[in-house]
């Protein structure tokens, strides 16, 4: 087993990985940028290395600096987390060349699955279901017309190198095709320096359902069931659950999706933890979308319903251990839901809200899991992604999990910056959500329908006004109060008050 592992990431996922390392009695090395010196992952680590300035391109994406950290600290493996260098084949190769273990699949597998067209070709070759469309990029409008006619409108244009919805266009009729092709290609060129675009049949109101796989370097591989990740905004997942309401209602569907995922992963020579993503239509037909060759953000929901620690298993597999699990050992119990807590303002177009976290009160009690990378008094940097924490709950049934999540969100309090916590409460009250009628356009529709404001209560308004009046009266009588509206000074003042007790 490893003695020391470098965690090439930041935020909640770095903290999550360090927790696993500590439980396994392995030393952890944090890396950090100028903006992250005081971050939780640095405080959690046994050792730490300064990478460089705040921008990711000068810190967390610097392969040379990370390898320098490995040498200086004598780490024998690197866990890349998600994002940053986690799906960068050159990084995995550089680790191999350096003689250090990359906790993930081989560089060759990352490269193969990293290209959507290559992955799609492979899926077709082994007979896995894919959305009808082209196997390779299309640039000629005449050819595009022919293909679009063959698969039938509406179609979707997608960037071959893409992700995050960039270079993506919906086309409803032939007259829109040529313009959309041009737009998608130029957007793809700008975003990924690669203008290749391919065509797929558009699946209406699709669900996004993915299968977690886990394989060792000795040919053993299992799947750990599905996660439903249909709740997305701007192609970013917002809320996930396991199992999926659709899959759990259809006998045999989990097994069929699991088998398809395993055959794709096996064919790619996959080892370590990976996720095979599928698009699922309203009738339950599923199509291979892509494979993510890393740990997913939403892995906790799988851990909650299966009982396995995916990060520890990743580390064991990377160390060469044999997976002592067969498919028959995997059982699912209850229901798990995760909310991604972002520093953004749901009442103001989801604008990012970096800044000083004045106060954080964490939810506790039965069935709660919080993967957080923040603490009160910490300044949320503006350079990185706005994910502050992942709040997950477990319940015996989906209804119980929803009820628990509502309870837990009520106990979660963050001040100083704005978060999307209140937005989740609205979704959890939505009858369509509660009925499990999900699709990837759900949140957009929900927002368009003018997400219902909870009914106003004169009691609440009166109480809010009264407490404010009393608060401002009492606060201005406090000698430490600076009398300003600055949250920071208020927080410092409160800190002083607490310190004096």
């Amino acid at each position: 087993m490893f003695r020391k592992v470098l965690v090439a990431n930041r935020g909640e996922i770095a903290v999550r990985i360090m927790r696993a390392l500590r439980e396994m009695d392995i030393r952890s090395v944090a890396v950090y940028s100028d903006a992250d010196r005081a971050s939780l992952h640095v405080r959690m680590a046994d050792e730490a290395f300064h990478l460089g300035p705040a921008p990711s391109s000068e810190s967390y994406l610097r392969i040379d600096r990370i390898l320098e950290a490995v040498r200086k600290h004598g780490a024998d493996a690197i866990h890349p987390g998600y994002g940053f260098l986690s799906e960068n084949a050159e990084f995995a190769e550089a680790c191999e060349a350096e003689g250090i273990t990359f906790i993930g699949p081989s560089a060759a597998t990352i490269r193969q699955m990293g290209s959507k067209t290559a992955a799609r070709k492979m899926a077709i070759a082994i007979g896995a279901p894919v959305v009808p469309g082209t196997e390779s990029a299309v640039s000629d409008p005449a050819e595009a017309r022919q293909i679009a006619r063959a698969v039938g409108y509406p179609v979707l244009l997608k960037a071959a190198a893409g992700g995050g919805g960039k270079g993506m266009r919906r086309v409803d009729s032939e007259s829109e095709l040529e313009g959309a092709l041009r737009d998608a290609a130029s957007e793809a060129e700008r975003a990924f320096a690669n203008s290749a675009v391919y065509i797929e049949k558009l699946v209406e109101r699709p669900r996004h359902i993915e299968i977690q796989v886990l394989g060792d370097r000795h040919g053993n591989m299992v799947h750990l069931g599905e996660r439903e990740c249909s709740l997305q905004r701007r192609h970013q997942k917002v809320m996930e659950e396991s199992p999926s309401p659709l899959v759990s209602a259809r006998p045999g569907m989990r097994e069929a999706m699991g088998e398809a995922a395993l055959s794709i992963a096996r064919h790619a020579g996959y080892y370590n933890a990976g996720t095979v993503e599928f698009l699922v239509d309203e009738t339950g037909r599923f199509y291979f979308l892509e494979m993510n060759t890393r740990l997913q953000v939403e892995h906790p929901v799988t851990e909650l319903v299966t009982g396995y620690d995916l990060v520890q298993l990743q580390i064991r597999i990377a160390a060469g251990e044999e997976l002592r699990l067969t498919q028959k050992d995997i059982a699912w119990r209850g229901w798990a839901i995760e909310c991604r807590i972002y520093a953004e303002d749901p009442h103001n177009g989801f604008l990012p809200s970096p800044g000083m976290l004045a106060d954080v009160e964490r939810p506790t009690g039965p069935g709660v899991r919080l993967d957080s990378g923040v603490y009160a008094g910490w300044e949320v940097p503006m350079e990185y992604d706005p994910l502050l924490a992942k709040l997950a709950v477990w319940g015996e049934t989906r209804e119980a999990a929803i009820a628990r999540m509502k309870r837990v969100l009520g106990e979660y309090y963050v001040s100083g910056i704005t978060t999307n916590i209140s937005f989740f409460r609205q979704i959890l009250d939505d009858p369509q959500f509660c009925a499990g009628h999900l699709h990837t356009g759900f949140i957009d529709e929900f927002l368009r329908s003018g997400a219902p404001d909870p009914p106003r209560s004169p009691d609440y308004d009166a109480m809010a006004a009264l407490v404010t009046a009393v608060f401002s009266k009492q606060e201005t009588q406090r000698p430490v109060d600076a009398g300003t509206f600055s949250i920071r000074s208020r927080w410092l003042a409160e800190g002083r008050v607490r310190g004096m007790r």
């Binding site: 990012p352 308004d461 006004a465």
Partner: protein, 169 residues
């Protein structure tokens, strides 16, 4: 004591007085039901009050924010402003398309693009400046048709929430 307040921009009048460890209150919104009664208020922690009204228990959190007090009751947030009658004469934003209008940073971030120069004529809704934070870019648009009379934004500069970036006249 009598105060003019607004709860989520709904104006109201609040009368309140302390009476033997409780607060008597009378809340009269301009467009809704009045509510009066007696509340027991205990400051449990800084900014956190335990409130009992007619046997019902509430946990109320309050913190001063840049645009009022943020009050959370049962996970629901309201913005409460205490209106100081002496301040009412001061000019605020949102005065139609007349006169000068300012463009300020809607969030802390970094200026990544400046699409205009001082002296430029701009149409209402034209993109002026792009501010980025947390990997999200936000294009600030001109609040009115007019001329850029002042331009503070500089590419690469870090800006605070509400910082003045440009003035359109």
């Amino acid at each position: 004591m009598k105060l003019q307040v607004s709860v989520d921009d709904r104006p109201a009048e609040l009368s309140f007085e302390e009476a033997s460890a409780e607060w008597r209150f009378d809340y009269r919104p301009q467009d809704g039901l009045a509510r009066s009664g007696t509340a027991s208020l205990v400051r449990a922690e800084p900014g956190i009050y335990s409130v009992l009204i007619e046997g019902l228990a509430y946990e109320v959190r309050v913190v001063a924010g840049p645009d009022g007090y943020y009050v959370d009751i049962g996970g629901r947030r309201s913005v409460v402003k205490v209106i100081d009658p002496r301040a009412l004469s001061s000019t605020g934003p949102g005065q139609g398309s007349q006169g000068r209008q300012t463009v300020t940073a809607p969030m802390p971030g970094k200026v990544v693009r400046v699409l205009i120069a001082e002296g430029d004529e701009v149409a209402a809704g034209a993109g002026l400046i792009v501010v980025e934070a947390m990997k999200m870019q936000n294009e600030l648009k001109s609040p009115k048709a007019g001329r850029i009379v002042q331009l503070k934004a500089q590419v690469g500069a870090t800006v605070k929430l509400g910082e003045l970036l440009a003035v359109v006249e």
